[in-house]
Each structure stands twice: as C-alpha cells, then as structure tokens.
C-alpha cells in the first residue's frame, strides 16, 4: 500500500532556517544583546564564561546519568544536552550523542513560533517532544525536553536534554517495528507539549506520554532525569547571570557562535576549492525488502562556504529507515564538529552559518510525513554521516595540518539488537543492547583507526559491561570480543569492530523476544579512503537448538559459531523473532574504513596484526600480500613477490604480463 500523504502535516516540518526574531511570539519578550556589547567583551571574562557554559552541558549530562535508570543512558551515554540562545541558535552541545544536538535549534524555534500564543511559554515551563519533523531527536525514541529560561520576564535562552527511550510503543517492542511501512506502524510523534508548567510536572501530559510505553516507569524516570538536567542547567545559568549580568552572559553566547563561524570560515579559506562526492548504501528498508537504498552527496567548498548537495538521493521508502531533515543535519554536524572544528567551541549555531544544504523533501534523508522513521537515527541519518564523512575527510587530506583530523568512515551503522519480554525479576522489559557502541573508528592519515573505539557521533559513547547487561536483562554472554578482519584493510588499517554472542537466560517464561535491524550485510558501509578497503560487512547469525547448556554441563564454554552446534541461520537486515532457551544469537558489528593501499602497509605491522588477532593469516596473504614465515614474522622477499602478483591481479592482469602503459611513466 502506498504511503498516504497527510494534509496539514507540513506545518510540523521545521525548515532549519534561522528564526525571524521580529515575532510576534505571544506575550514572550526575547532578551537581546547589542553587537557592541558582544564586540566589547574582554577576553578573560569571555573565556571564563565560555568554559562555564561548556561545563553546564557536562553538568546536564551528569544529571541525566545520575537520575536515569536506563542502561542505554547510564552506561552507554546515548543522550545529548545543549544550550540555545533566545532565538534557538545552538550555543553549545555536550560531548555525548552529537546527532541529538543537531536539531535542538529547530525544536526551540518551532516551539517559540507555535506555542508562544497558545498555550503560552512562561517561566518554569518545559516542553516535551519526539517529533523529528519538528526537530529535537532523530527518531521517536529520542525524546527531548526543552526548557526556556527567563530572566527579568524575558526569554533569555533555552536548554534541552534529549535521550533515547527504550520503548515508546508501536507495533514492536522497543518501537523498532521492522515490518513498518509508515510512521503509523511506529510510536506516533509528539510535537512539543507542555510537560512542566510553571515548575509543576503536568500529570495529564505525563500520562498521555507514558501510556504508550511498554516500560512506563523506566521512561518516566528518564523524563524526570531530563527535567532535572534542565533544572540543573537553569540553576547554573542563573548563577552566571547573577554574577556577570544577563547582557554579558548573552554576549558570550553570541560570541561563541560568532567565533565558531569565523574560525571555521578561516579554516575553509585555507583549503582548496572543489567538489567531493560520495554515496552511502543501505540494504533493506524493512523486513523482506531486498532493495538497496542510496544517499548521494556532492560537497562543494567555495571560499569560506560548504554546500552539501544531496541531489540524486533515492526517494523515501516504504519502511523504517527514512530520516527527516533533522536526521540529515544529524548526519552532517558530528562530522563537522569532530573533523573540522576539533579545536573550536562546539557551537552549532555558528557552524551551521558556514554551510548550505540542498535536499529534496520526499527523499530518504529528508522524508515527508508520514514516512516511517523508526530507525532514522541509525539508518539514513547515520548513512548520511558516512557519505559526508568521506567528502569532508577527502577535502581535509589535501592540507598537511588539517588532514591530521581526517578519519575514514567509522563503524558503518548501528547493529540493532533489541530484547524484550520478562526479566529475571518477573518484570516486563525492553532494551536495545548497546554493545555496537564499540565500533571501529576509521583510519587516520598517520595511524590506524582505534579498535572498538566507538561511534563517530558519540564522543563519550560507552558500552555497558557484560555483567551490567546480564544483571539487568535475562541474557548470558558466551563472549564479547574484537573480531578479526573487521577493520578496513589499508596502509593504515581501520579500527576493528567486535561481536557479542549470548543466550536467553533466567527469564521465568523461558523465551525472549528479539528484534534485529542492521544494514550493511550486502554492501559494506564504512568506506576506505585513498584506495583502502571498507570495513567488513555486518554479520548476524541466529543458531537454533544449540547445545550450549549441554556443553556448560560438561564444563565447556563454546568459543566459536562452529562449536555451538544447532541449526545456523544468517540473519537478514531486518528480523523479528523469539529466542527460546536453546537458541544463541551472534551479532558482529562493523569496524572502520582504512586509508591507503593495503599493499603499502609495512609487512611487520601486518604480521603484528595477525599475532594480535586483528588480521587473519588469510587476509594477510590475500589482501595485504604478506607472506608469513613459520615464526609469524613477514618474509620480505616472498612478500615482495606476492605483492607484485596481487597488484597485477587487481587491475586484471596475469602475473606474468608486462606492466602496461609504460609510456605514461615519466
């Protein structure tokens, strides 16, 4: 059935453009500061307040973690925090999930424009939303709590906390409905609603919100964590205002964005003008879909501006992998901050001023309502990040200094494993397993990618200890470990990814429900640069009727898929099923792409990789062209001969043929 357009839904589609601050915004008066005050800030005051604002976003993160009860938040840091000025421009984002800081400005602007007259925006109010067309998070699980801060009756600024919620309803547990065709299969988006009114949590709004969840107590706790984080921020900001005055604090906010803009433009001016293009593929838009969906980007750098042109990207699909414009921005901002702005204030309000985005509404990374977006964050937003990452890195590599910040594509997607059912304490549970946060990072121009270093978009990302997962959920690990050959081969190797293998364990009902959603099984997603190979494909395996418990009884722990016994099923990109007590689930997520020709990697470095289990002897021979002697060291002469043969084979020549086109050689 085709997706049915919904009349009137366009009013929820926030454009991403700056606010027309002339208003009117109901009875809300915006606190403004003159450019003279901003220009007249002394350097010392500026730095003191700037660092304090950065610390406020950290404090917000601490507050979220201390109050949340969700492993996704407490142990994996899948949340974001931010401070916006009175017009919604983002002054500072925290070091947590930067995707979640990419569209906070959109949410603030939409709220100011659409809620200031009715129901009104007043001191002590906070707004909840999970509508990615409006902004805030990238899919419905990303719930934002947005809080205006007033000073002397004027709207001074906004703060926001956004975190992944483990279940907000929809067809499937965890709200990742792999059979979904459009948004009505999923958790329905909530546009901004007043959740706190003049300091009081609204019971009616909270009930409306939590009623949809399979785990309302946990989600309710997270709600309080985000409200608390905003309260912490407001305490800190009010103290700053009391100390330095509102105009000075606001001037620092403006200058932070101005400085980010100026410094980024200066950096761009030092880079060559040109266009770099890339593509990102996703196999399968929902369960049963065997198509491949692409995102195309051409990034043009002209003087001090970047233009990201997504013309040619596929139309939105009947499935769950689309993302809205917020998701598209979420695919750009983390790359901009980490690669282009590592030494600057992470002030997205200034960074966004340096770029233009060309994208057609109705495409897979700028979809229109009611396209399915349940997996937007880790599908089309993440894929956008992959494509953008390639183009920005290639541009940077042209510069001897800036190139050191370049990185090949990191872990190509999030390998979703979601478990739900009845836990060992007899309570209902639903959670995603955040082990894939330990993805491999991309290679750099002077070093290998960091093995299981994380995800590009979450600098502070973590994985929960296996014991934490086993304590919280009815599961028992057989292993979690780095995986051989998962990093993209290259002169510099991509960081390796890893795998987890577990069984359902100790649920009073025996079985556990499993939702799997992970692309990159047909087409690798973490591309290499300068001739390097991409990281390995995603690989998930379900083993039915394995003999694990019998092996336990015999005092053995299986250490490989082959040792598990049972019936093996290679898992497609999207699957929903049950794990019975005799089943085993194995999930192998991606590493990072490499940089440079793998035949140029020092043979001894490859031999070391083999010794450490990063590269197999097979790949050492077939991809790196390294012949290992008996003691594990590289054989230089045999390696040279093999590399000569492989280099010819790669261009379609037989080893004995003469080099072609010798006339081209100078």
């Amino acid at each position: 059935m085709p997706v049915i357009p919904v009349a009137g839904s366009e009013r929820f589609a926030e454009s991403g453009q700056p606010l027309q601050t002339s208003g009117p915004f109901g009875d809300v008066i915006l606190h403004r500061v003159s450019e003279d005050i901003t220009a007249g800030l002394d350097a010392l005051t500026y730095e003191v307040i700037r660092h304090r604002l950065v610390a406020v976003t950290d404090d917000m993160g601490d507050a979220v973690k201390r109050m949340s009860g969700s492993v996704v938040v407490t142990d994996c840091n899948d949340f974001g925090t931010g401070i916006m000025d009175e017009a919604g421009e983002t002054v500072q984002v925290g070091l947590y999930n930067m995707q979640l800081g990419s569209a906070l400005d959109m949410a603030a602007r939409w709220t100011l424009t659409n809620r200031s007259a009715n129901p009104g925006i007043r001191e002590g109010d906070q707004f909840l939303l999970n509508d990615p067309w409006v902004g805030g998070g990238l899919h419905q699980n990303d719930v934002t709590v947005l809080a205006p801060l007033f000073h002397d009756g004027q709207l001074f600024c906004w703060t926001a906390a956004v975190a992944h919620q483990v279940d907000l309803g929809g067809v499937s547990p965890g709200s990742w409905s792999v059979d979904g065709r459009d948004v009505f299969w999923e958790s329905l988006p909530i546009p901004p609603v007043k959740i706190v009114e003049e300091g009081q949590l609204r019971a009616d709004t909270e009930d409306m919100y939590l009623r949809r969840s399979r785990v309302p107590r946990l989600v309710g706790l997270d709600l309080r964590a985000k409200i608390g984080a905003n309260n912490v921020a407001h305490d800190r900001l009010t103290a700053l205002i009391d100390t330095y005055g509102p105009d000075t604090v606001k001037a620092v906010m403006k200058k932070m964005m101005n400085d980010a803009e100026a410094r980024l433009k200066a950096k761009l001016r030092e880079l060559p003008d040109g266009t770099w293009s890339s593509v990102a593929h996703q196999d399968g838009g929902r369960s049963g879909d065997r198509e491949i969906h692409k995102i195309v980007v051409a990034m043009t750098k002209d003087g001090e501006r970047l233009t990201f042109d997504f013309t040619g990207t596929d139309l939105q699909v009947e499935g769950i992998i689309n993302c809205t414009y917020a998701g598209l921005r979420g695919g750009i901002l983390p790359v901009m901050l980490t690669m282009l702005c590592p030494e600057m204030s992470w002030s997205p309000g200034g960074v966004f001023r340096c770029m233009d985005i060309i994208s057609e509404p109705g495409t897979i990374n700028n979809c229109t309502f009611p396209a399915g977006i349940g997996k937007a964050s880790v599908n089309s937003a993440w894929a956008t990040q992959n494509a953008v990452s390639e183009t920005v890195a290639e541009m940077l590599i042209t510069h001897p200094e800036f190139g050191r910040s370049a990185m090949s594509v990191c872990c190509g997607t999030w390998d979703l494993t979601l478990l739900s059912g009845v836990d060992q304490r007899g309570s209902g549970f639903a959670t995603m397993i955040c082990d894939p946060t330990a993805g491999g990072l991309g290679a750099r121009v002077d070093n290998d990618g960091v093995d299981t270093g994380g995800a590009h978009c979450i600098p502070m990302g973590r994985t929960a200890d296996v014991e934490i997962n086993e304590f919280n959920f009815p599961m028992l690990y057989l292993w979690r470990r780095e995986e051989v050959d998962s990093g993209g081969p290259g002169r510099w190797r991509g960081g390796v990814g890893a795998s987890s293998c577990f069984i359902p364990h100790d649920s009073p009902v025996g079985e556990v429900h499993l939702v799997v959603s992970a692309n990159g099984k047909a087409v690798p997603q973490a591309a290499g640069l300068s001739g390097a190979y991409p990281a390995a494909t995603q690989w998930d395996v379900l083993v039915r009727d394995a003999g694990v418990r019998e092996q336990f009884a015999a005092g053995k722990i299986p250490r490989s898929l082959e040792q598990l016994g049972g019936r093996t099923q290679v898992v497609p990109p999207h699957l929903e099923t049950d794990l019975t007590p005799g089943d085993v689930y194995f999930t192998h997520w991606q590493g990072g792409g490499g940089i440079g020709d793998p035949l140029h990697r020092e043979p001894e470095r490859v031999a070391k990789d083999v010794g450490e289990g990063k590269v197999s002897a097979h790949a050492a021979h077939a991809v790196y062209g390294v012949v290992l002697a008996d003691e594990g060291r590289a054989d230089p002469e045999a390696t040279e001969t093999l590399r000569r043969q492989l280099s010819r084979r790669r261009v379609g020549l037989e080893p004995e043929q003469s080099p072609i086109d010798s006339g081209a050689r100078r």
Partner: protein, 93 residues
Amino acid sequence: MIIDFNLCTDENGAVVCRHCETTIGDSRSSPMNKALRHARPSVDAGPGIHADPALFVDRGIMLRQVSCPGCFTLLRTEIVPAEEPSYREWSLR
C-alpha cells in the same frame, strides 16, 4: 599540491601518482581519466565480506578498484551495486 595519500598535482596542473609520478589525470577537473579501472565480484574483497550478498539483495554487488597505470597502487576501492555509476568522484578548481 597534495591531493590525498597517492595523488598530487604537478606544475602543469596534471594529477600524478605520488609513488611513481605517472600521470593519472590531465587536469584537476578531470583528475582520474588515465587511471586503470577493474571490477570483480564483491566476495573477492577478502574475508571482510562475510556472506554472499545474494542472501540479502537481488542486485549484483561488485568490488570496483581504480589504480595507477604505472605502479598499480590502489587509488580508490569501493563495493557497490553493479549497475550503479561511481558516485565517488572529486574535482578541484
């Protein structure tokens, strides 16, 4: 000017291999027109391809590689649907 790990431009604006100085492209706007191009099934990429793509999708998936015609250094490697053009291009002004 350095372009990437393998390429740079010479004084005439041509793109040349940094390893063997072979001309790869006549100009910065047509930077790879003399490179060698070869495609193979994606499973030839090595053990990083865990499963036959036909398990998951109906389209053929290819390993495409672009190499220096002089020293055969890999300039680009991508694994993509067989019928797609290469979207991974660049040009400098």
